[in-house]
Amino acid sequence: MTTPLDTVRTDWHGRARRSTLWSSVAGLGLTLTAAAVVRSWRDDLPARVATHWGPDGTPDATMTVTGLVTAVLALTVGLLALFAVVGLVWGSSASTRRMAAGSAVWSGGLGATLLLVGAGAQRGLDDASSATLSGWAVAATILLPLVPAVVAALVVPGDARQPADAPVPPEAARARLGTDERAAWLRTAQGGTGLAVGAAAVVGTTVLAVLTRQWPLLLVPAVLTLLFAAMFAFRVRVDATGLTARSVLGWPGTHVPADEVVAASVVHVDPFREFGGWGWRVGFRGGRIGIVLRAGEALLVERTGERSLVVTVDDAATGAALLNTLADRSRQNRTPH
């Protein structure tokens, strides 16, 4: 008996190590470069720089320049370690490696903008108490690092094709389908609790921006709205090509080719316990990808390369049975080597 999973195992671990390494180095590089720039400003900066502003816009906490640089570096290193663990332990799917690499670069970028925007506004000041922080500066601190993060995520290579060697287990459910029959199963997966959480976050950040009269901060709920809109509903499709799940907005989405399906089944999902939330998630168990919009019935697709995908969708039993049957067909149609 061959053990194809062993070769696949080293395959994704190697890819995960590579993307984790370069994204962490890039993230750390961004923060270190900013730290060097801030140190070169030392003579222009007050002895203690403002690091926190009260709701009325006046500084209520200060630090030495060295203290600020050290604190921001510690934050960056902490976030980098977190995303390195995500990438190395759960990075069996390319989408997870992309997310981990993007988040690592975003963390480094955040460290850089925190230093450059925070200290940059205080150049030439004798005393930190006169330091002001505009809403634009805060919005830029959070949103600017998204640019290199997106670039990093796009640079991570996708998964190689990994057709299954073994047949779908005989005990897995099948759909009754004649040899002349074609079939497709199409459904829309929609959200429940996650939508409420998203709406609360949008309302919360909007209220915060309005109360503090920092209008540029409205950019944050705007970006959040876009994010939640993309996660709100997914079209799920099982056909001869395999399983496709795509946001109604067109992104994000994923496709599992029929010949990479190991087995499909129905499971019960608790989004918060198993995935830490709702939407497109990485699960705590073996890097399982979850499109989890509500608790309950879900379609689980086990895929080659130690990957798996779960989608919370109604009537998952019909979709699972059809996917197993079409996976059988993809094996029969394969040209013998």
């Binding site: 004649g178 002349d180 029959e181 074609r182 497709a184 199409l186 499709r237």
Partner: protein
Amino acid sequence: MLWTIDTGSDEPLYAQLVAQTHLAVARGDLAPGDRLPAARELATSLELNVHTVLRAYQQLRDEGLVDLRRSRGAVITAAAARDLTAVEDALRAFVAAAREARLSPEATTTLLQEELKR
């Protein structure tokens, strides 16, 4: 929902889609307000020409089962949720009678088709 196409059947492909939509509505799998898949997506999934799916959707519209709207696609109408209990009961009685008379499924179907032509 699950859509199937039997390429070995004499029934035209578009008519098979129409029949399945009727069946799904009768079973409650499709309710008024539900949207049918985009014609292009359904056509791709079943490896059909998009015009085949559009023809099915047009027939469903002509039958009053769906509304075709440019922005929202094909939506099941409120009129689609008719009470078909009487028809189903009569059909069950008809099939029982045909079995009693030892008619073949083909002969039974032909009788029904002839009756529909009147």
